[in-house]
């Protein structure tokens, strides 16, 4: 058995390490106490957090890849191992949830030598049914979690340094630095997001080759480039406000270097904006993935993603009898993730907004 680290895997590990380190330092701050107070006050926030953690654990398990000696070509993840045998077996075609037989008849040779239309018996039990080529819908939906999480989090990881750095520079130094940074983000945000993403994905397509992992990474980078402008604008505004605050003015008067002022006095006071924006962006990005896949500039068509599942299942709705399980499976798992993230970001907003309390 040999472990394999894909590019996005490495970033996922980095994110997990970053999160642990961040929590270690963050747990002593006022913000941490405010969040905890909210979680204690309203138990449904806690439920949302728990669901997010379950999704997170599934995503992490799906990010540990390895090859076995018996099959050199199949890259499997720990999650595949847990969901075995659904990762490598498939039925012939559609079958409904809890069904024992396929939903589509097949012409087969019967025991007495005649040909007859029969509904083939399923090899395994499928709790959410199977799709057109007989793959287990539950397995597909669970495998799509990783893609959704990677798009929601790695994109943030990519854009956060730029937004923070540029936003604080512009707000602190003002003058020509501010002019240039404002010009850059105004220009970027003037292009309708979906068109910029489509344009960038199209131009990079010949370079991405056929690696779904690289394509996912590039998509995250492009989404990051198009989405940092909003946060940057917010941070610039807040920095401008903070800069004229008394405590920053006195620090300047005492001769503290700009770098130190930004790190000690400005950045800690921007954290609540960063946290809220990251949480809100996360759910928007997970939803955007499905739209992008539909337009044809999303993740690789062979990758596991809710967007791809919905895209493939769209035409199922026109079938008789109606094939609804594939579509609803993808939409349900996506909804639970986005809904929990929205509820949790509501908790964050409440924690940092004294007016709401």
């Amino acid at each position: 058995m040999k472990m394999i680290v894909l590019w996005t895997d490495a970033l996922v590990y980095l994110l997990v390490i970053g999160l642990v380190v961040w929590i270690y330092f963050f747990r002593k701050t006022q913000e941490w106490r405010l969040i905890l107070a909210q979680l204690k006050k309203r138990p449904y926030y806690l439920v949302a957090l728990l669901i997010l953690m379950v999704y997170g654990i599934i995503g992490i398990l799906d990010s540990i890849h390895f090859k076995t000696a018996s099959n050199e070509f199949a890259v499997r993840s720990v999650l595949d191992l847990l969901l075995s045998p659904y990762d490598h077996v498939s039925e012939v075609t559609y079958s409904a949830p809890f069904a024992t037989h396929s939903a589509e008849p097949q012409v087969l040779k019967t025991e007495d030598g005649h040909f007859a239309e029969v509904y083939p018996k399923l090899k395994y039990f499928h709790f959410l049914g199977t799709d057109k080529i007989g793959r287990d819908v539950f397995y597909l939906a669970i495998k799509s979690i990783r893609t959704g999480l990677v798009i929601g989090t790695v994109t943030t990881l990519v854009m956060l340094p730029f937004a923070l750095l540029f936003g604080m520079w512009a707000g602190y130094f003002r003058g020509w630095v501010d002019d240039i940074i404002q010009y850059i983000y105004t220009t970027l945000s003037s292009v309708p997001g979906i068109l910029l993403i489509a344009g960038a994905m199209l131009s990079l397509q010949p370079k991405i080759e056929a690696d779904p992992d690289i394509r996912l990474l590039i998509l995250c980078v492009i989404l990051g480039v198009t989405s940092w402008t909003t946060l940057c604008r917010l941070l610039r505004g807040e920095t401008l406000k903070l800069r004229s605050a008394d405590f920053v003015q006195s620090a300047i008067a005492l001769g503290v270097t700009p770098l130190k002022i930004i790190r000690r006095h400005i950045m800690p006071n921007l954290m609540h904006i960063v946290i809220i924006t990251v949480a809100l962006d996360f759910s928007a990005l997970v939803l955007a993935e499905a739209i992008l896949s539909y337009v044809g500039v999303g993740v690789d068509p062979t990758a596991f993603s809710w967007g791809n599942m919905i895209n493939a299942a769209r035409l199922d709705m026109a079938r008789e009898p109606l094939v609804w399980w594939s579509l609803s499976g993808a939409l349900f798992f996506m909804f639970i993730l986005v809904f929990s993230a929205n509820i949790f970001s509501d908790a964050l907003q409440k924690a940092f907004n004294p007016k709401e309390n």
């Binding site: 850059i184 292009v191 979906i194 068109l195 739209i291 769209r314 809904f339 929205n342």
Partner: protein
């Protein structure tokens, strides 16, 4: 003068357009060389270098990027890809698509269906969302408000694709009230547009209503509201006349914020419902990898967005006397 205010806003848009032009040029000709474009269209297998050169010659990609040494005088600069493909966008000369169609003519044929879809969505959506938000604020603190906000969060969390598929299935396939998709010219278009309009409005209901509710709640504690109540006005009148009027500036700003979303929304809507507008034009171009059309649409989309910004700035003059006063000084 008011005109200098407007003129200043127009002049401010020019550097942004130049920036976008350079950005698209870099994206489509540096990241992706003309050779790459030719290879995408010719297919990757069994193509000769001469086939690539021929394709570039036919589609005007054979010119040098910035400076043409073979030509004389001004033609040194004009007979280049940068001038032919990028500078010409400023006068909305989009040239030919990679399959040889006239892009400007296609846009001329397709903008009407797009507007027929986008304008009702914008106006009806605005009215519905603001009305619901004001009602929630009117009943603030009650269970109605709580349930309303909760429903908004649920609506936000559902993929737009679900609304489309479910709406299409329920209203068109099951009840057969409306056609599933398609489009015809003239007044009968409304039959085909009704479903996408309804779904578009419904899909943005959650986020919009929540946003407007927060906006109105900001206003509710201000002094003018207290004065209005002290005068003995009914809460309904206070909200729907006084608060609404004073919230016009953020509402207008919000409209600009959703303009690009409207573009994104109609992109998917149009292609789902087979409406021959600019959105489905763009989606088709993306799927066929027609770089010329995508490049044109990126620029056109930006121009429309900046135009929307300009309209908002001008409408500030109309809703807020303070802006009018400042601009005349």
């Amino acid at each position: 003068m008011i005109w200098t205010y407007i003129l200043r806003r127009i002049l401010q848009a020019i550097p942004i357009l130049i920036g976008v032009n350079i950005l698209t040029f870099a994206l489509f000709f540096f990241v992706n060389s003309p050779d790459d474009i030719a290879r995408v269209h010719l297919g990757t297998k069994y193509i000769t270098e001469s086939a690539v050169q021929d394709w570039k010659q036919v589609h005007g990609y054979h010119l040098p990027l910035f400076y043409n040494q073979k030509e004389k005088n001004m033609k040194k600069l004009t007979e280049t890809i940068f001038f032919q493909k990028s500078i010409k966008l400023f006068v909305l000369d989009f040239g030919l698509s990679d399959t040889g169609r006239d892009i400007k003519q296609a846009i001329g044929e397709r903008y009407l269906p797009s507007l027929q879809l986008a304008i009702p969505v914008l106006i009806i959506g605005l009215l519905v969302n603001i009305a619901i938000a004001l009602l929630l604020v009117l009943f603030r603190g009650t269970y109605l408000d709580l349930v309303g906000v909760f429903l908004c969060v649920v609506l936000i969390s559902i993929s737009a694709l679900f609304y489309i598929v479910a709406g299409q299935y329920l209203l068109a396939k099951l009840f057969r009230w409306l056609p599933i998709s398609g489009y015809i010219d003239g007044w009968h278009a409304i039959k085909f547009l009704l479903l996408p309009i309804m779904i578009s409005i419904f899909a943005s209901l959650g986020s919009e209503t929540r946003w407007y509710r927060a906006l109105f709640l900001e206003e509710i504690d201000k002094e003018y509201v207290r004065t209005a109540r002290a005068k003995g006005l009914s809460e309904f009148r206070v909200l729907f006349i006084h608060v609404l009027k004073n919230a016009m500036i953020p509402i207008l700003t919000g409209i600009v914020a959703i303009l690009p979303l409207l573009f994104m929304g109609s992109l998917v809507m149009e292609s789902f419902f087979a409406i021959p507008g600019l959105g489905s034009f763009t989606v088709d171009a993306i799927r066929e990898q027609d770089f010329a059309i995508v490049r044109s649409m990126v620029f056109l989309g930006t121009v429309l967005y900046i135009f929307g910004l300009l309209l908002t700035d001008i409408s500030y003059l109309w809703v807020d006397p303070r802006v009018r006063l400042e601009s005349t000084q």
